[in-house]
C-alpha cells in the first residue's frame, strides 16, 4: 500500500493538469532522451495546456507538433522508443486513440517480447479521458478496458495531482510502454499539495485512499472523486468505507484488492465506462475466485450504462453518481 502523503513544507499546490506539466518538464530536464510529440502540443501548449511552456524551454526538436494523424503519432513513438528515445506522445482525446491501437497492440506491447529483449519500447501515450466537461461528441469516452486487455502494455490512471505527478514520472522512467490516461474532469478541479522531490510512485500498486472496515469501494480516475464523496456520506451514517484507487489497471495489484475484500467482505466497484466487459468485471472475477470465502454480499458494480457515452446533454444521467455508489454500498451491507 502506498498513500503518497506530501510533506506540507516542501510540497507545492498544483492542479492535475499542472502536475502533468511539471512531470513532463522535470522528466525532460532529467533525461535528454525524453521528447514529447502530438497535435497542437508545441506552440499551442496542448489543447488543455498540459505541455505549455515546454517548447520554449526545450525547443522544437524535443517538443514536436506532428501532422494530424494519431496512427502516425503512435508509429513515430514506437520507432523512436525502439532506438532508445523516451517519447511521450499526446493523443488529444481518448476518443481519437483508436487509430493508434494497431501500433500499441501489434508493436509497442510486443516489441521486447518478440525480439527476446533485443529491442524495447519505453514510450508513454498520454490521453485525456472520461466525461463530465460538456465536451463535443467523441471527446468523453472511457475505454480503458480495451487497453488493460493488452499484455505488455501498462495502463496507468491517476486520480489526484500528486499521483498524476508521481505516476507520470514513473511512467516516463519505465522501460515498458505505458498508456497514461488523464481524467480530464479533474484537470482543474482543485489545487492540492504535490511533493516534487519524492521517488516516482510504483506502477503496479493500488493506493488506499481511505481505510475502513465495513465496505470496500474500488475505483479509479475521475470516479475516485465521487467514490470519496460517497465514503464521506457513508461515514456520516457510521459506515466505514475503505477506498481503493486501482491506479494501475495493468499489471493489476490483485493482492491489495483481495486484501481489502477479505477485510470488509463487501465490495462496490465504480467506473465510468460501460458495465459489459468493463474493467470492474476483471476485478469482480478476481475477488470471486480469490476472496470468495470472505465475501458477505454479492459484488456490486456501479458503472456507466451499456451505451455509447451520451453527448453532453445527457451525460449526467450516464455518469455514476454519489447516490448510486452510496445505495450500492448499503445494498451490500443489507444483504
Amino acid at each position: 500500500m502506498h498513500s503518497a502523503q506530501p510533506h506540507p513544507d516542501t510540497s507545492v499546490p498544483l492542479n492535475l493538469l499542472e502536475a502533468v506539466n511539471q512531470a513532463l518538464r522535470h522528466a525532460m530536464e532529467a533525461d535528454e532522451n525524453v521528447v514529447v510529440l502530438g497535435e497542437d502540443i508545441a506552440t499551442n501548449g496542448g489543447v488543455f495546456r498540459a505541455t505549455e511552456g515546454l517548447k520554449e524551454t526545450f525547443g522544437f526538436r524535443r517538443v514536436m507538433d506532428t501532422p494530424l494523424a494519431e496512427n502516425l503519432i503512435a508509429g513515430l513513438a514506437v520507432g523512436m522508443a525502439s532506438q532508445g528515445l523516451k517519447p511521450v506522445a499526446e493523443i488529444q482525446f481518448m476518443g481519437f486513440i483508436y487509430a493508434a491501437l494497431e501500433q500499441l497492440i501489434s508493436h509497442a506491447a510486443r516489441l521486447r517480447n518478440r525480439t527476446r529483449g533485443r529491442l524495447s519500447c519505453p514510450l508513454v501515450i498520454r490521453a485525456p479521458f472520461g466525461g463530465g466537461i460538456h465536451a463535443p461528441e467523441h471527446h468523453s469516452e472511457s475505454t480503458e478496458a480495451l487497453f488493460a486487455h493488452i499484455p505488455g502494455l501498462r495502463v496507468v490512471i491517476p486520480s489526484s495531482p500528486a499521483r498524476a505527478y508521481g505516476l507520470l514520472r514513473a511512467a516516463i522512467a519505465c522501460p515498458d510502454p505505458v498508456l497514461f490516461l488523464e481524467p480530464k474532469r479533474l484537470y482543474r478541479l482543485q489545487r492540492l499539495p504535490v511533493e516534487l522531490e519524492d521517488e516516482p510512485l510504483p506502477l503496479d500498486r493500488c493506493f488506499t485512499l481511505r481505510a475502513g472496515e465495513d465496505v470496500s469501494l474500488i475505483s479509479w480516475g475521475a470516479m475516485i472523486h465521487e467514490t470519496l464523496a460517497a465514503a464521506e456520506q457513508l461515514a456520516a451514517e457510521d459506515i466505514k468505507a475503505e477506498v481503493i484507487d486501482v491506479a494501475t489497471l495493468n499489471p493489476l495489484d490483485r493482492d491489495t484488492l483481495i486484501a481489502t475484500a477479505s477485510k470488509t467482505g463487501r465490495v462496490v466497484i465504480v467506473h465510468e465506462a460501460p458495465h459489459n466487459g468493463g474493467f470492474g468485471a476483471e476485478i469482480a472475477a478476481t475477488l470471486a475466485s480469490d476472496a470468495l470465502m470472505h465475501l458477505l454480499a454479492p459484488i456490486e458494480r456501479v458503472t456507466g450504462y451499456d451505451c455509447p457515452m451520451p453527448y453532453f446533454a445527457m451525460e449526467q444521467h450516464y455518469m455514476p453518481s454519489v447516490e448510486r455508489i452510496v445505495a450500492a454500498a448499503k445494498r451490500t451491507l443489507e444483504y
Partner: protein, 353 residues
Amino acid sequence: MFTSTPYDMHHRLPDLPENTDWPRLVDGYRHMALIRTFDKKAVNLQRTGKLGTYASCLGAEAIATAGGMALHDGDYFVPYYRDHATQYLRGVPLYQILQYWGGDERGNAFPTDTPAARDLPNCVPIATQLTQAAGIATKAKLGHEQAAVLATCGDGATSRGDFHEALNVAGVWQLPLVVMVNNNQWAISVPRSLQTASDTIAQKAVAAGIEGFQVDGNDLPAMLETLDYALDKARHGKGATLIEAVSYRLSDHTTADDAGRYRKASDLHAAWQREPVARLRQTLADAGHWDAEQEKKWQADCQQQVDNAVETYLNQPPQAPTDMLDYLYAELPEALKAQRQHLLQQQPGGHHA
C-alpha cells in the same frame, strides 16, 4: 519530383558505363545466388514440415540485396517480410532467419555485434513499419547521426494510410528516410491494378513533397545506383525518398498460398525471362567478370552455407515456455508470477496443475 528510369524489363540488363564497379556487382551476384539457394531450401523445409509458413523472396533478390549492400553500418533497416537478403547482409545469420520462420521469436534476437542489432524485426501487419521508420529517422535526425533509415514494403502496403502518413511526415520534417516499395505486382491475389489508379507508385512521392523514383527492381546495378543516391541524400540531411522497385513475385505469396488460382501461367513465364539473378549473371559473364567455373564453385559454396544453416537451425535447443512471459516486461510483474509458475509446472518434470 519523380523520375522514371527505363524499366521495360528487357531480358538483358541495360549496358553498364565504363566506370562500373564490377567487383561490387560480383559481390552482389554472389549474395543474390546465395539467397536464392536459401529460399529454395526454406520452401522445401516448409513442405517437409520443418518450417512454418514462409514468405519466399523469389524474384526480390536484387531489391533486397541492393538494400543490404547500400546500407552503411550506422544506418537503420526497417523491413517488411521479404527482405531475407538485406537481413543476411546486415548480419543476421541464415539459421536465425529460418528460426524466425520456424515460429521462434529468438530468430528476432539479432546478433548484438552486427549492424542488424538495431534493426526492427520483420513486420507482418502491412505498412505499420513505415511510421515506425519515420520515428527512427526522427531520432537519427535529432541526434545529428548522419544516418539513413531504409524501410521496405510491398505494393499492397501503398494502399494503407500508414504509407501516406509516413511519407507525409518525412516530407514535412525532412527526415533521413528512404521508403522502398517492392512492387512485385501482387498483394497475395490482388494485382497492382486494383491497388491504385496511379500510373506509378513512385508518383505518390509528389503528394508528400519528396523525391520519388521508379526503378527496375530486377536490375541490381540500377537498384544500387538509386539506393546509393537516396541513402546518401538522407545521411546528408537532404530529405526523404520514395523508391518504387518494379519486379515480379515469382513465388506464391507464402507457402500457404497457391498463386495458380489467380496468376496466369504465361505471365509467370514471361516474368522468368527477366528475373534478376540470371540477368546479372549474364551481364557479368558478357563482361568477362564471371564464368562457368566460378558459377559451379559458388553454387556448391551456397549449398554448403545453406546446409550448414539448416543444421544449425534444426539443432537449436527448445525455448523455455516461460520465455513467453519473461520478455514481455523489463521485469516480470508480480501479477504474472503465478502464471509463470503454472507454466513451469506444465513442463516435463513439473507437476501438472
